[in-house]
């Protein structure tokens, strides 16, 4: 599958990564190359095969409904680039 520059920009947008024009030009053939390579999977006959859901047979454990986390706001905010009055601060969003 060949990805064109428009697709590269679209994917970059979905992934929230700013890309310069130069990067887009470089990425388009790179990604096309990689996607072209992985596409060979299409030749595998997968009739009747279920997609793998668990790597090693295991059952999902369910937790008891108990509060185990105390108030640890200081820890939660400790690494914040910008925190104010107990909140994380981000550029203002208009909804």
């Amino acid at each position: 599958m060949s990805v064109d520059e428009a697709t590269v920009r679209h994917v970059a947008k979905l992934a929230r990564i700013a890309v310069s024009d130069a990067e887009v030009q470089k990425l388009a053939p790179e990604l096309s190359n990689i996607l072209g390579w992985v596409e060979q999977l299409g030749e595998v006959n997968v009739d009747g095969v279920a997609p793998m859901t668990a790597v090693i047979p295991n059952t999902l454990r369910l937790r008891d409904d108990v509060v185990t986390e105390p108030d640890r706001r200081d820890d939660i905010l400790a690494n914040a680039p910008v925190a104010e009055h107990g909140f994380f601060a981000v550029p203002k969003v208009i909804e």
């Binding site: 059952t59 369910l62 706001r73 009055h85 909140f87 550029p91």
Partner: protein, 487 residues
């Protein structure tokens, strides 16, 4: 068939409505972390490392949240999927620390079910439920605390939500309102969600489209996070009207997300011309599929309480209550509980009389002071006592009302009030006869008129007698003795 229509220039339009209700699960801890879920805590004080999506954090599911979703499904007569799976819904927003929400797209925990809703005039309609799945709630953003920043509070991040998706079976604001009310009542009966729409523990995304009757479904819009029944109905009216006007003006409806502005009573588009979200759902690799055992499912079923419809039927059929009373008493779980506690109180009052008393006297009093039955100053036991005093003749209807007033004000029990204020009604024949004699003696004109044929004056003499006895005379006895005295 609903006959609700939007009148357009080209004719009548039918409205098609689907609702996605997000209901916060009542649980102590969050869906995938052990942080607390209580409403109203200081910002970011109920946040685990998992909720804040620090590097290397992993989700572990809370059994109670799954249990409540299953119980809810059972209450809606829905198919329960013992095998289900969590999927990641990927998008970026400041209230979504992981950059994805753990939800269930491909294999939800509950499949198809239905809700019977009650409409005006006693009609009912069955609204289909497509599915219920469990997912994480997002955090809260505040935009008005700072000129340049929005503030992020993650307390709500990771709280378990049930997303209850209806089929697009509703055709009017009334039906939608009835659906939400009924669903809310069921959730509160179950205890799986407190249904508190103001606090946001229950909210709806309202999907609306319009079509000419009999035509294909039109394109729908989705108005998100509507948090009251009144607003839901307003959104439907407004959005249906907007769509009809747009189509008739030659435009086309765009499938988009909208927000409701209650101050302006209008919806506006949330998404700009940008591409719609591509959520890139895929099974969450940090979690294995959910497998619920037979024992688990049996416990869920055994734990179901009597639900509103069943309770109402029992009240009508077994307790003999009127349809109206049965409906009113079962509309809210607190009311039904209060009523059943009343019936179980020591005096074991008669069910029909008790139901009349609750729906008229008690509700009347509570409405006047704007209180709900959970805040009733009168307890079921006290209500039962009062009904007992009426039944055994201690109190007449009038006296009972008086006593009730005092109960509401003071919170005292009726027997104590009667004792303290001597409000017993008397059936003392001698005393009543004496008073009657006095009344007749003091009202010779009326007596003559009555004896002359003006029978309506009987009520006058009853009134005078009761007044003279400060309302404490047993009305039945007064009637009997008066008849004798008047001849």
């Amino acid at each position: 068939m609903s006959d609700y229509r939007i009148q357009g220039a080209t004719g009548e339009w039918e409205v098609v409505i689907g609702l996605e209700v997000h209901a916060q699960v009542t649980s102590n801890a969050k869906l995938f972390s052990g942080a607390a879920t209580a409403f109203g805590a200081e910002p970011n004080t109920q946040v685990a490392l998992v909720d804040a999506a620090f590097p290397g954090m992993l989700p572990v599911p809370n059994e109670e949240c799954l249990r409540q979703a299953v119980r809810t499904g059972m209450a809606l007569n829905a198919q329960i999927n013992a095998w289900s799976r969590f999927d990641r819904k990927n998008y970026f927003y400041a209230d979504l620390p992981q950059g994805y929400q753990i939800s269930q797209l491909y294999h939800p925990i509950v499949g198809e079910g239905e809700i019977e809703v009650d409409l005006e005039g006693g009609a009912t309609k069955t609204i289909g439920v497509e599915r219920i799945h469990v997912e994480q709630d997002a955090g809260k953003l505040m935009h008005d605390q700072h000129p340049n920043y929005s503030y992020v509070d993650l307390n709500r991040t990771g709280v378990a939500l049930m997303e209850i998706v209806s089929r697009p079976d509703m055709r009017s604001p009334e039906e939608a309102g009835a659906y939400v009310r009924k669903l809310r009542a069921i959730l509160r009966y179950l205890g799986s969600c407190d249904g508190n729409m103001e606090q946001g523990s229950m909210r709806a995304d309202v999907n609306v489209s319009v079509r000419k009757p009999g035509a294909e479904f039109g394109t729908r819009t989705e108005t998100k996070n509507v948090n009251s029944v009144r607003f839901i109905m307003a959104v439907i009216e407004h959005e249906a009207r907007r769509q009809v006007d747009l189509i008739e003006d030659g435009g086309t409806i765009v499938q988009e997300t909208r927000l409701y502005d209650p101050d302006r009573n209008e919806t506006r588009s949330l998404r700009s011309k940008e591409d719609a979200h591509d959520y890139r759902y895929f099974p969450d690799p940090d979690l294995l599929p959910v497998e619920l055992s037979d024992a688990f499912l049996e416990e869920c079923r055994a734990s179901l309480p009597e639900l509103p419809d069943a309770k109402r039927a029992r009240y009508e059929n077994e307790l003999g209550l009127s349809a109206y009373n049965a409906s009113v008493l079962t509309a809210e779980v607190e009311t039904a509980r209060w009523f059943e506690a009343l019936l179980a109180s020591p005096g074991k009052p008669d069910a029909q009389r008790a139901s009349n008393w609750v729906t008229s006297e008690l509700f009347g009093a509570l409405n006047k002071v704007g209180k709900g039955i959970e805040d009733s100053p009168v307890t079921p036991a006290q209500g039962g006592e009062l009904l007992g005093l009426i039944a055994d003749g201690t109190l007449s209807g009038t006296l009972a009302k008086q006593v009730f007033e005092i109960m509401l004000e003071t919170g005292e029990g009726p027997a104590a009030i009667v004792e303290a204020r001597g409000l017993k009604q008397t059936s003392d024949i001698g005393a009543i006869e004496a008073v009657i004699a006095g009344v007749l003696a003091n009202n010779p004109n009326q007596l003559e008129q009555y004896r002359g044929g003006k029978e309506a004056l009987f009520g006058f003499f009853v009134g005078q007698t009761m007044k003279a006895m400060q309302g404490k005379a047993n009305p039945a006895v007064v009637n009997e003795l008066l008849k004798k005295a008047l001849g």
